[in-house]
Symmetry: C2
């Protein structure tokens, strides 16, 4: 039997999925598990999207253009223009989820063995895409004591080597919920310009900004238009994660035409998803106001509840629907497993994502977990109570 590839062996298993068998076992035992571990929102998909599918009138479900249907790209350009990002439809490549946009960007821009800098903690699947593309991730640590703000320029510059080709930022950030300010992006611009790097800006959570904070897109950084590649997704914006529609967007014509070659090899992005995504652009503004109101309330409740638990620290993030929380435990990975395997409170428990999976530096994030506030407030209330009970009796609790 021939051996699998080294890349296959090195490919990281998702740090969240590792715990899935334990959560399944807990459910088999009849326990209710509150899922704080995944970014699957419970918000309904806009009706305009579902209705577009119900009214489908194609006779043949044909391939679309490799770059995505022109009608969708044109309409998507108007969405960006409306929010102050000046994009022409030729600068858009529709992808199979934001995931494929990230992969195409790395494949198009970075050689195997070259490096990309990412502030950690970072979205764990960047590891998988980097392994797929043979690219080395060089982490630059951000800290919970700073609410995970962008590391200092000097810290980032220390990580730049002759192999560095770019920087990836996720804004608002998954997993920290941190919203990078315009000033922080201007700092990034300086580095990018000085060292002639690509700036990969993952803006999938753009719509999720709270307390009136405004999102500043990397596409609006003047003077580095050819360096910036925006990665986007409709998954969270319209709560339609399953349709797998994203986009790679850049003013750099060479990157668009290179990414298009990767896109042509896989023929086309999902056609049905494009129908839903195109229709979603007509989602009424009220929908977003309601969603924002709901997430703000969830966040406010959750941050307060977490900070009331002895030994717990939770920053108050301004974006996305995640937060990285410091827990008074020996090892958050063990704690997460214990919650599913051994603990219950009135036959209920919670599932959290261990922080270490979001760090590239060994040993980091050991007493942190990522919590997604994608549950209704009633459920969050229960989940926070259960977490508090669990921390009170967890054998590996840190002593004060």
């Amino acid at each position: 039997m021939p051996s699998i590839s080294d890349r296959g062996r090195l490919m990281p298993a998702s740090p969240i999925r590792r715990l899935v068998p334990y959560s399944e076992e807990a459910k088999r035992k009849g326990r209710k598990v509150y899922h704080l571990n995944i970014g699957q929102p419970d918000i309904p998909t806009p009706e305009v999207a579902i209705n577009a599918l119900r009214n489908i009138n194609q006779k043949v479900l044909e391939y679309s253009h490799s770059a995505g249907n022109e009608s969708y790209r044109r309409k998507l350009a108007t969405y960006y223009q409306k929010i102050g990002i000046n994009i022409d439809f030729h600068e858009i490549l529709i992808t199979t989820g934001g995931s494929e946009a990230i992969l195409f960007a790395l494949m198009s821009c970075i050689n195997p063995g070259e490096e990309v800098i990412i502030p950690e903690p970072f979205y764990a699947n960047y590891n998988g895409f980097a392994t797929t593309a043979g690219v080395k991730i060089v982490p630059v640590t951000s800290y919970i004591k700073d609410d995970f703000a962008l590391p200092a320029i000097t810290d980032i510059e220390k990580k730049i080597s002759s192999k560095t080709k770019g920087i990836i930022v996720c804004n608002p950030n998954n997993p920290t919920g941190y919203l990078y300010s315009k000033e922080e992006l201007l700092h990034l611009k300086e580095i990018v310009k000085k060292h002639d790097l690509f700036l990969f800006s993952d803006e999938a959570y753009r719509e999720f900004c709270y307390d009136g904070a405004e999102h500043f897109s990397a596409m609006n950084l003047e003077g580095i238009e050819n360096n910036v590649i925006m990665l986007d997704s409709v998954s969270k914006r319209y709560s339609e994660c399953g349709i797998r529609i994203g986009a790679l967007i850049t003013k750099n014509k060479e990157i668009i035409s290179t990414a298009l070659k990767f896109a042509q090899a896989r023929l086309s992005p999902p056609g049905l998803g494009q129908i839903a995504a195109e229709a979603s652009i007509d989602t009424p503004d009220n929908y977003f106001k309601e969603v924002n109101r709901e997430y703000t309330a969830r966040r406010n409740f959750m941050v307060e509840a977490l900070n009331k638990i002895p030994g717990v620290y939770c920053p108050k993030p301004k974006g996305a629907f995640y937060t990285v929380v410091k827990l008074p435990v020996d090892d958050a990975e063990k704690f997460a497993q214990w919650l599913l395997e051994e603990f219950d409170y009135n036959n209920q428990t919670v599932m959290v994502a261990p922080g270490s999976g979001f760090y590239s530096t060994p040993g980091s994030g050991k007493n942190e977990v990522r919590i997604a506030y994608v549950l209704k407030i009633e459920d969050l209330k229960n989940a926070m109570m259960i977490l508090e009970e669990a921390l009170a009796i967890y054998p590996g609790r840190e002593k004060f």
Copy 2:
């Protein structure tokens, strides 16, 4: 401005797409273009698939399992069992089109720099996936004089080096339409066993076998179960190319669990496509009989019409809906461009795919084109007449 990656530069542009600007220009001039160049069937998608979408009742279009919905995998296993391929749903990974199945298979099994042998002419996008995965394609030529039968074992073995990790076959074959016999597959089995290689079997055209010929799946080769990886797609089977649903199937547990890691990084295959694909399994048998009757008639007409044109040779393929045809021209690439740029017959022309794009050996396929018989007979009649007229006056016509 930072430079793109070497891989991005080396990534081949689709040999078919290169001509697209010329076809668009021809259409702008008001010419009707008969598309014999692409594998987009005109056959209607089964109504059960479209109806499943019309009756969609999800409130949230959620992520599915990374390996695909369990309900779909279970039902897909019954489809395989019905056609005599014994597969359990755990041996199935649902992918984003057959394209992603090929990419995951290469990524999981082959290291950058290692080699895979493919009988040429071959599906041109294998080049793109190989470039993406850093894998080297080693062609072993099949010949039109043999109707593109599997090359002799000795010819294949000559190509095996210490870097060879596997063999890719597409059966029935795109672009040649050749249907490999059970005997040919048994020959492949001997090679695979002797040299401990992977056998990647792309069976996307399984349902398209004519003249009562039966398809023999590589999954049914006994004794090499851990070597065989079947790559499949619903695109052609149910004429739903645009939904992007395929599958990677293998009895090799290590490959399934490795491919699943690549699948987890991209989260899930398209959810809406899975709804359509799952419903499609209930397509009545009549549909396939009708489709088979239609393609048989198209093939019979087309092969006869082509062979009547002086200097043209067309084998009579037993599978898929393509054929590679020898034309009396200096350079089929130039001829294909000339058809679009300079020729018209009553304001009509045809678009064909130059043969060279399907070969890896430089200079091969220069007087061949791939023709897809995906048009109604009336249109095929016109297209064949136009092709005959064009060949009669083409300046680069081969002299007899």
